[in-house]
Amino acid sequence: MDEPNFSFLFAAYAAIWVLLFLYIANIARRNRALQREIDELRELVERQDTSSQPRPHDG
């Protein structure tokens, strides 16, 4: 096996896997953060909707 050229082959495939890994990890992190944010917002919306409903003795 030609040693110097093997390093080029290694570098090319390492670059591909590093790029793919970073991209997928970034999307996964973003999706987790968004899902958390949506859960919190849903809770706030529910609380807002409940508090804005008229109570039985009002009016």
Partner: protein, 233 residues
């Protein structure tokens, strides 16, 4: 929608992993070493499919952008944005692995060859597209400007494809040579390239799916915030 989710989570995702493992096995174990270029020729088995998948992704950006301009629905805009980001990833892979192959074969990392230059232009066009999306105020007008750029940018793809025939170039034609044959003489080389291409096709569809999910979640979060601020959607 749940059926599509199941399709991508339980079929496309695992198929991506399996075909990618098969491609890696074929590239490093199965395929014979090229007589003239030696071991670095194995870079081609990921470089060439990445280039073709780049064209597919940017082609999808153009189609989805045209559909968005026609119908104005967020679905097409999200798809265009997701495909553009994935296309940029594959185009970056092409522009990194190409010079790594070129250094031992041509003796230089980069040359202003027609195919290399037009590919770099493609990368710059879609980098501009993503910057436009990132830094302009959100809303329909920014999405429409981006859609126009997404459609115009795709014009570069046939130019890249024909560049090896239109101009004097040192870039090799791997799939179809100028004589009409193929640059891959051994059938095992063609099989390896085919499996790598299938793996990259699955990878693109899976990446677009997860990126599109991200955009969909962002839209949902925006709608909930809007609801909190105004009291209605």
């Amino acid at each position: 929608m749940p059926n599509v989710r199941r399709l991508f989570d339980f079929i496309v995702g695992p198929l991506t992993g399996l075909t990618m493992l098969a491609a890696i096995y074929m590239v490093f174990v199965y395929v014979p070493t090229d007589k003239f270029q030696g071991i670095v020729q194995r870079i081609f088995y990921f470089h060439v499919p990445a280039a073709i998948i780049t064209f597919v992704a940017f082609g999808l950006v153009a189609v989805a952008s045209a559909m968005f301009l026609w119908q104005g629905t967020r679905f097409w805009d999200r798809l265009a944005h997701s495909a553009a980001e994935c296309g940029m990833l594959f185009c970056t892979i092409v522009l990194i692995t190409g010079p790594i192959w070129a250094r031992p074969i041509w003796g230089t990392w980069w040359t202003w060859d027609a195919r290399l230059t037009t590919t770099l232009i493609l990368w710059l066009i879609y980098a501009a597209y993503l910057m436009l999306r990132e830094f302009s105020a959100s809303g329909d007008q920014a999405a429409r400007y981006a859609a126009v750029l997404g459609i115009v940018g795709v014009i570069d793809i046939p130019i890249i494809n024909r560049s090896v025939y239109w101009w004097r170039t040192i870039h090799p034609a791997v799939l179809i040579t100028r004589q009409g044959g193929t640059g891959l003489t051994d059938p095992r080389m063609r099989a390896t390239l085919l499996v790598s291409f299938i793996a990259f096709a699955f990878l693109l569809s899976w990446l677009i799916w997860i990126r599109n999910e991200s955009a969909r979640l962002q839209d949902e979060a925006d709608q909930l915030q809007q609801h909190l601020l105004t009291g209605h959607d």
